[in-house]
């Protein structure tokens, strides 16, 4: 565990110690959450299944960090670049709800995620899975759950939306400097 993770775990444990006994299960799982390295960049492959149209849309590209923002660059089938940051006014409102979730997942910041999800982890440090169920009614109205898995880093995310749509993202670590359109630190 990194120092930060330890501190977070202690903080969570302290909070829970004063809470009702029913939440003790969470205390155990909090201790078992895998530590994940923060990825500065990665290549992704994304599959979006749209239930009501019965079609699947494939795309690929990479993401990288730039200051506080996450640049989500799609390269296939067409080029599209989105700056994911709370101060980007062009982002849809629904995404501003999802943004902390997304960055929390990519960072492996369990502490941040705990504010929004009940987290049910399984497996061990090098090969783990976790199911995240939203706590906020506002998020739950759109997102049913997220299944995440990986080893040192998050490798696979499966987002199940309330309307039956699904987004599966596979992440592969890459050398950040080789990515085009750099501009990253």
């Amino acid at each position: 565990m990194t120092l930060m993770e330890k501190t977070a775990t202690i903080a969570v444990a302290l909070t829970l110690a004063t809470a009702a006994p029913a939440t003790l299960a969470d205390e155990h799982s909090a201790a078992e959450l895998p530590s994940i390295e923060l990825a500065r960049c990665a290549r992704f492959e994304q599959q979006r299944e749209m239930a009501d149209l019965d079609v699947t849309l494939d795309s690929a590209g990479y993401f990288l960090r730039q200051d506080d923002a996450l640049i989500w660059q799609t390269t296939r089938p067409v080029a599209d670049r989105v700056r994911l940051s709370p101060d980007n006014p062009d982002l849809p409102r629904s995404l501003s709800l999802m943004l902390p979730v997304l960055t929390g997942l990519l960072d492996g910041n369990w502490q941040a995620l705990r504010q929004h999800f009940a987290i049910d982890p399984a497996g061990e440090s090098g090969d783990w899975q976790a199911r995240l169920t939203p706590l906020d009614a506002a998020v739950a109205e759109r997102l049913e759950r997220i299944d995440a898995s990986g080893g040192q880093r998050v490798e696979r995310l499966n987002l199940a939306f309330a309307n039956g749509d699904r987004v599966v993202i596979r992440l592969t670590p890459t050398d950040c400097d080789t990515l085009q359109g750099a501009g990253h630190p």
Partner: protein
């Protein structure tokens, strides 16, 4: 001396009249005759008056039971839940609106094709296509390709509900200059005026603040102002109120030593109010509480009549009372003249106040004249020594130095008044809320970018659709003012519910965009072209969004105050944020040339009203004084100045004190001056009628002292209006009393005195 049969009959008639008044009052009370606290009812009626009243009522209903709290400081997000729990536990709060923000998307989804945000309307086909693609590829967006491939609803919500409130880690709040403020909005569990609720709410907040000194909490909401006002009122009633009551009872008790005399003084004032209240209520159909408050203080002058009568009866039990009647009658006439002159003004508020005060004085006078002489005389031996000792306070035989001193003070006051005295109609100076609280409210409004509801346009039209059209047409001129930086912003219902014509236009543009951008979108995304038909299907047969549909939804409820559809004439409000004087002028010019469009600025209206009241009172008071001077000259000839010196001199000295202290003269200072003038006139009349009589001087001194205790102590009130009234009375009544010895002049030789007493 036994009262004559005519006097007895008159006393009976007066008793019957008062009994009738009391019965009328009881029927008004039981029949719940209207009582008013609205300042607008004091204004002259204009065509828009009923509209303004409706608007004010609706605004009050929408806002009065809501509170907004902003919390900042280290780890504020983690500590806010504790505050929420405390508020819930206190029972003062019914629901925390910020916990369950109304979601307009579900309500608006069926209408989205008729609601086009400006940001999308400006885009060309390529940009629509790019937007659609971006939504498909961005993770986390639940891109609804079938129903809304271009995110029409997102764009609309973004434009309409943008505002400064954002979610950070799921917590609503605003970020300003790098500081994050957590937002907590709540609906009160009861009336904001309920003292119990105020107490529980303020206690819960205070406890939280004590436990977390590192956090800053900003409050906004009527309840906090009401609570501060109630707490202040309670404090002042127990200190100032009790203090002045105790002072008056001790003073009069020490002089008269007879509870009966005290009771007779109280009877006079009570009879005055019992006479004036039902009659004013009946004459005007409604009773304004502001009128009542100030009218009642003016009736305070009525105690003068009883004081003069009682002092004369206690000190000279053997002398006939008839020698008092001319002075008493002149006292009544002069006060009535000063007040009834106000009926000549065009202001209903002033009419009611003047009527109330005049009737009250008349009632008290009749009680003094008809009833008090019938009460048994039981002078106490302690009264005479008090009067005798007081009578030593006279000008010495060599009066020149005293007059020179007074002239110097008078000239200084006149110079100060001419050079430095300024009126003040700034309503903010009259705000009874503590400045800290007013400041917090303003900060919250600024941070949340919410107009305070102080300034708005009222729009009327023949029907609902025409009204929406009219609102829509205001956008262009208002946007122009906003772009020029002259108007902070505006809000009206047509922004949320566009008129049908605009909804039709929007739908046509959306259809165009679908036709032009959708094939390219599907092609670029690698999706089958066969989807085109399915995705385009929803834009057929789209229903219209109506004001009713929007306002009945939880998200639209916040706009309820903008729509006054309940009455015969549909009307709507355009709430305006801060506007420059130039913008205000342009808006007023527009309303002047547009039928069915009115501009209302609550603060400016009340300020202007105060200015008019102040000017009218001053002008008519001046006229009344001039008229009275003629009457006094007719009766007293060369001694008329003796009558005028205490009242007029006191007014000049008081205004001089204000000028020296740099105090702006408000309406409430002026009302205080009315009181000073009334008491000063009585003092002047009696010191001229009976210059050598210690009883008159005792009555004048008791009148000044008791009024000082009743009203002068209000100078210590923290409520600005009362404080102004109090300081005026404090300075004015003191000056008036000090001027009476000048009116009386030095003691006359004994022979002259005897002669005067004989003829007096």
């Amino acid at each position: 001396m036994r009262p004559s049969s005519t006097e007895r009959l008159a006393a009976w008639v007066w008793g019957l009249a008062l009994a009738g008044c009391l019965m009328l009052l009881a029927s008004q009370w039981l029949g719940q005759a209207p009582v008013d606290t609205r300042i607008t009812t004091l204004l002259p009626d204009t065509p828009e008056t009923p509209l303004i009243e409706r608007a004010e009522k609706q605004q009050a209903e929408a806002f009065e039971s809501r509170i907004l709290l902003l919390v900042s400081g280290p780890e504020s997000a983690q500590k806010v839940p504790e505050l929420k729990r405390a508020l819930h536990a206190s029972g003062s709060v019914a629901a925390l609106a910020s916990d369950d923000p109304a979601r307009p998307d579900a309500v608006l989804a069926p209408y989205r094709y008729r609601l086009l945000a400006d940001s999308l309307a400006e885009k060309n086909a390529d940009e629509w296509q790019k937007r659609g693609l971006s939504r498909l590829f961005t993770p986390g967006v639940d891109a609804d390709l079938k129903k809304d491939p271009f995110g029409l609803l997102d764009a609309w919500l973004e434009a309409r509900l943008g505002g400064p409130v954002t979610l950070e880690d799921g917590h609503p709040g605003v970020t300003h200059s790098g500081t994050r403020w957590q937002l907590l909005s709540a609906e009160l569990a009861g009336s904001p005026y309920a003292m119990g609720l105020q107490q529980r709410l303020t206690d819960a907040l205070a406890t939280f603040e004590v436990q977390h000194p590192e956090l800053e909490v900003l409050r906004a909401g009527l309840v906090f102002h009401a609570a501060a006002g109630a707490a202040q009122g309670k404090r002042e009633i127990t200190t100032i109120g009790l203090g002045s009551l105790l002072g008056i009872v001790l003073l009069l008790g020490a002089v008269f030593r007879r509870p009966g005399v005290l009771a007779s003084l109280l009877l006079t004032v009570s009879a005055g109010i019992a006479f004036a209240l039902p009659l004013t209520w009946w004459l005007f159909g409604t009773l304004n509480l502001l009128t009542l408050a100030f009218g009642a203080s003016l009736i305070g002058i009525a105690v003068d009549y009883a004081l003069h009568l009682q002092c004369a009866r206690q000190l000279h039990p053997g002398r006939p009372l008839a020698r008092l009647w001319p002075g008493l009658a002149l006292g009544l006439v002069s006060s009535l003249a000063a007040y009834l002159m106000q009926l000549a003004t065009p202001l209903p508020g002033l009419h009611q106040m003047a009527t109330f005060a005049a009737l009250g004085l008349a009632g008290a006078w009749l009680t003094t004249r008809l009833w008090l002489p019938l009460l048994p005389k039981r002078p106490h031996p302690a009264t005479w020594p008090v009067a005798e000792r007081l009578d030593r306070l006279r000008l010495p035989q060599r009066t020149a130095p005293w007059w020179a001193g007074l002239a110097l003070v008078g000239v200084a006051a006149a110079v100060l008044i001419a050079t430095r005295l300024a009126p003040s109609d700034d309503l903010r100076a009259l705000n009874p809320s503590p400045p800290g609280l007013v400041d917090q409210q303003r900060q919250v409004q600024t941070l949340l970018e919410r107009p305070g509801g102080q300034r708005y346009l009222i729009v009327t039209a023949g029907g609902q659709e025409a009204l929406l059209d009219k609102l829509e047409h205001l956008n262009a001129p208002l946007d122009e003012l906003a772009r020029a930086g002259q108007l902070g912003g505006y809000r009206h219902l047509a922004q949320s519910v566009p008129p049908k014509a605009v909804q039709d236009d929007n739908l046509a543009r959306v259809s165009d965009a679908y036709r032009q951008a959708l094939p390219g979108l599907l092609d670029d995304a690698g999706l089958p072209a066969a989807l085109l038909e399915t995705i385009s299907a929803p834009i057929e047969g789209v229903p219209y969004l109506t004001p009713e549909r929007w306002l009945e939804s939880p998200a639209g409820a916040a706009d309820a105050a903008l729509w006054l559809s309940d009455a015969a004439t549909p009307a709507a409000l355009v709430l305006l944020e801060d506007a420059t004087p130039e913008a205000t002028q342009r808006l007023q010019a527009r309303t002047a040339e547009t039928p069915g469009l009115y501009y209302h600025d609550r603060v400016a209206t009340i300020s202007a009203q105060f200015t008019r009241l102040r000017q009218h009172i001053t002008r008519w008071l001046g006229l009344a004084l001039a008229g009275l001077a003629v009457v006094f000259i007719a009766r007293y000839r060369r001694r008329a100045w003796r009558v005028l010196l205490p009242p007029v001199g006191a007014v000049i000295l008081t205004l001089g004190v204000f000028a020296a202290a740099g105090v702006g003269v408000t309406l409430f200072h002026l009302l205080g001056l009315l009181l000073v003038l009334g008491i000063g006139l009585d003092a002047g009349i009696f010191s001229t009628e009976h210059p050598e009589d210690p009883a008159a001087w005792l009555a004048i001194s008791l009148s000044c002292a008791s009024s000082l205790l009743a009203f002068g102590l209000l100078a210590f009130s923290a409520t600005p209006a009362l404080h102004f009234l109090g300081t005026t009375c404090l300075a004015g009544l003191t000056a008036s009393w000090l001027l009476v010895p000048f009116s009386r002049g030095p003691r006359r030789p004994v022979s002259a005195r005897k002669e005067h007493v004989l003829h007096g």
